[in-house]
Symmetry: C2
Amino acid sequence: MATEQGLRERKKQRTRELIVQRAMALFDERGFEHVTIAEIAAAADIAPRTFFGYFPSKEDVVFHDFDVFFASLRERLAARAEGESTLDALRDWLAQMLAGMDHESPAEQCRRRVIVASPALQAHDRELITRFERELAHGMAADLGEPEDSLRVRMVVAAAAAALQELERVFDKDAGLPEDPMAVIDEVFVFVRGGVEALRESAPRHPGVTS
Amino acid sequence: MATEQGLRERKKQRTRELIVQRAMALFDERGFEHVTIAEIAAAADIAPRTFFGYFPSKEDVVFHDFDVFFASLRERLAARAEGESTLDALRDWLAQMLAGMDHESPAEQCRRRVIVASPALQAHDRELITRFERELAHGMAADLGEPEDSLRVRMVVAAAAAALQELERVFDKDAGLPEDPMAVIDEVFVFVRGGVEALRESAPRHPGVTS
DNA sequence: GTGCAAATCTGCAACCTCTGCATTTTTGCA
DNA sequence: TGCAAAAATGCAGAGGTTGCAGATTTGCAC
């Protein structure tokens, strides 16, 4: 399999992790915008130019693992059972994410701290949320029988995305979880389903494929 | 009053408008990222350094008038009548915006074209939407009797903001309006109210101020 | 009209992110 | 041990953005 990819790959991975680790420490200490690529490179024992072989931009260091995150969501949405709605699948996926991740780990706490302290990173975060919305919109559109860029799809997805952000925030509050995270998620679903239901009752349905 | 602010102010305003006008033309022609500050400055007959006296960044030229936009919203929300919800006020404000603005003007069309063609500008647009959400969150929180960063507030506001984006999109579709814009807005409100109602039924209410 | 102070404009130097390109070093493997 | 691919590096440069100091323009009082 691809587990053992040779020494070369492993070393590259180690370097990548080292960059992340050292960079995050610096960001946390001085703030994202007050750390230069040159400093990160020095801290990670690489040439400044080499940094860009690992990450396309400074921001991407902070969000280094979001690719697998998205991949996991996409997979889950694609593999959903017959009769399972996109919303159901999303809920299930979120539950698994919550269970399988240590949100109290120093690294995660550090990440949140760094993001909260930097406008640029918050902007980048929003971009990623948008990507998250796009993933959802695909399945949601099929569920509702509407085009991906329709208003209904957009609203539902935006509300769901707000939940994601809220989850991030829940973990920020000092220490323990003031609420059961899953309860937070369920609240989102009550809201979204209530909204969708109201739409269904009010408007018969869109013209659809006409013209 | 402040209508006549002297020659100095007027000249500054004229220069500002000239920058916007010339810059937008260039953006439209070549794409936002393929126009440099130096070129904008040359086109507007100012020194490159002077550009930054008028706009803090290249992006801000495109969104030059959003300040008044936000100010108008804030004002409307602050001045709402007794018993009028934030949602109602928002709807009213949107209706006025729709009526009072020529969305088919060349300048507006150009702006939309430029934004759609540039990832950087779309990102900036999202930032502004976030600001829009913050404005709303304030009043919405009071309405719902919850903190501004609560999940419910966040969701409602996110859904409403999705409507704004959708409106932009509605005007993009080639020429005429395929739908009555106000009908689009009303759909949003049906959704949001349905969601809020569902929440009210399911959960009694939050603990509130308790620890 | 003259002159002064404040507001503007401008040029300069510098910092930073990010890219392309050519060169050198390292690594995997025969 | 040697070769080819991969990775790291150095260099030069474009472009956005800022701070600073000097030159210009403007508003206004005299």
